[in-house]
C-alpha cells in the first residue's frame, strides 16, 4: 500500500507533470487567467486523465497485446482520449453552461493536451499494472490541477501589477511559471522511485 502512496506523492509533487516534466503547458497558460476557469478546467482534466489512463490500460492489455498489435497503441490511445473528452464536453455543457462557455475552446483542446496522451504512454512504458496506472493518471491530474489553480490565483493578482508593457500578459506568466518550476525542483529526490 505504501508504494501506491509514494507513487501518488511522487507523481503529484516530485515529477509534477507541468513543472517538472513540462507536459500540458498550453492549457496551463491558456486557462489560468481566472481562478474559476482554472478550477473548472482542473476538474475536467482530472476526470479525463483518470478515465483515459484506465481505458488505455484496458485496451492495451486485453485487446492489443493478445492480438500482438502493439504498434496500434498510440492510435488507440488517441481514439480513447477523444471519446472521453467528447463525453466530458457533453457532461460539462449540460451541467454548467457558464463553465462550458468560460472554458470555451480549451475543453475540446484537452484531447490534444500532451499531459493526457503522456500519461497513457508513460503508463505503458513504466509497465504499471491496472491499479498503478489509475493512481498514476489520477496523481498526474491532481499535480496538474494543483499547480494550475495556484498559478491562476497568482495571475489574477499579477493582472494589476505594474509590469513593464512588453512583459504584460503571457510573458510575465511564462516567467512566473519558470520560477514556480524552480521551486518545484526542491522536491527532487523526495521519493526514490
Amino acid at each position: 500500500m505504501t508504494d501506491y502512496a509514494l507513487l501518488l506523492i511522487g507523481t503529484v509533487l516530485v515529477n509534477n507533470f507541468v513543472l517538472v516534466q513540462f507536459l500540458g503547458l498550453c492549457p496551463f497558460m491558456g486557462v489560468s487567467s481566472r481562478t474559476e476557469t482554472a478550477i473548472g478546467m482542473s476538474f475536467a482534466t482530472t476526470f479525463v486523465m483518470t478515465l483515459a489512463s484506465l481505458l488505455s490500460y484496458l485496451v492495451t492489455t486485453y485487446i492489443l497485446i493478445p492480438l500482438n498489435l502493439e504498434y496500434l497503441t498510440t492510435m488507440s490511445f488517441i481514439l480513447v482520449i477523444a471519446v472521453v473528452v467528447q463525453f466530458t464536453e457533453m457532461v460539462v455543457h449540460k451541467t454548467s453552461s457558464s463553465l462550458y462557455r468560460l472554458l470555451g475552446i480549451f475543453l475540446p483542446l484537452i484531447t490534444t493536451n500532451c499531459a493526457v496522451l503522456g500519461v497513457a504512454l508513460l503508463n505503458l512504458r513504466l509497465q504499471h499494472n491496472f491499479f498503478e496506472s489509475i493512481i498514476y493518471g489520477f496523481g498526474a491530474a491532481v499535480g496538474f490541477s494543483l499547480v494550475l489553480v495556484m498559478f491562476s490565483a497568482m495571475r489574477e493578482k499579477l493582472a494589476n501589477a505594474d509590469v513593464p508593457t512588453p512583459f504584460k500578459g503571457a510573458a510575465i506568466a511564462m516567467i512566473t511559471a519558470g520560477l514556480m518550476s524552480l521551486a518545484f525542483m526542491g522536491f527532487a529526490g523526495l521519493v526514490k522511485i
Binding site: 492480438l67 498489435l69 481514439l79 463525453f87 449540460k94 462557455r101 470555451g104
Partner: protein
C-alpha cells in the same frame, strides 16, 4: 492478414465508442444558448444603433455568435470589459470608427435639450426617439424628459429646424465625485 485484423479491431472499438457517444449526446442534449440575454443585460440599452445594429438586442445576438465586442460606443470601455469577462475573451480597445461617445469635456453624460422657441411641433423627433423620451404631439410644443433620455442623439438629425442640442447634465452635490487629481496624488510607478 494482420492488416485486416488491425482494421477490424479498430473498427470494432470505434463502433463501440461511437454507440456510447450517440447515446450520451441524446441524454445530455442541451437546447438554446442563454448567452444572448446575458449580453443584452450588459449593454447600456441606448438603442442608438451606432454599432451598426438596430438596437441593443440584435447587437447582443450578433456578439453571441462572434461579432466584435468593441462596437458599443455609449457603453465605452467598461461595457467592453464586462462583455470580455462574460465571454472570457480578452479586452480590445473601443473600435475607432465609432467615436467615443462619453463626452470628453465633462465626464457627465449628455442629454438632449429642445430649444422651445424654435420647435414647430413636427413630431419627427418623437418618431425617432427609441425610448419615447420626447413629450409632445403634432403642432404642440415638444420637450425632452431629461432623466429618460439616454443621450443617443438619434433625434438631433431628423429635426428640420435644428432645435435639439446635446447638453451635459449640471454637476450638483449629489452627482459630484471625488476625483483623484484634485488632490495632487502622485503615484510612484
Amino acid at each position: 492478414m494482420n492488416i485486416l485484423l488491425a482494421i477490424l479491431v479498430l473498427g470494432v472499438i470505434s463502433a463501440l465508442f461511437g454507440a456510447l457517444l450517440g447515446y450520451a449526446s441524446i441524454r445530455f442534449h442541451v437546447e438554446g444558448d442563454p448567452i444572448a440575454e446575458q449580453l443584452d443585460a450588459l449593454l447600456p440599452q441606448t438603442q442608438c444603433g451606432q454599432c451598426g445594429y438596430p438596437g441593443c438586442k440584435p447587437y447582443a445576438e450578433a456578439v453571441a455568435n462572434g461579432e466584435a465586442i468593441n462596437k458599443c460606443a455609449p457603453g465605452g470601455e467598461d461595457t467592453i470589459k464586462k462583455i470580455a469577462d462574460l465571454l472570457g475573451v480578452d479586452v480590445q480597445p473601443l473600435d475607432d470608427n465609432h467615436e467615443q461617445d462619453d463626452s470628453s469635456q465633462s465626464n457627465l453624460p449628455k442629454v438632449a435639450f429642445i430649444i422651445e422657441e424654435d420647435c414647430i411641433g413636427c413630431t419627427k423627433c418623437i418618431q425617432a426617439c427609441p425610448v419615447d423620451a420626447i413629450l409632445g404631439a403634432a403642432k404642440q410644443m415638444h420637450t425632452i424628459l431629461s432623466d429618460e433620455c439616454t443621450g443617443c442623439d438619434l433625434c438631433v438629425a431628423p429635426c428640420p429646424v435644428d432645435c435639439i442640442e446635446m447638453r451635459p447634465t449640471p454637476e450638483t452635490i449629489q452627482n459630484w465625485q471625488w476625483d483623484l487629481n484634485k488632490i495632487a496624488v502622485k503615484q510612484i510607478g
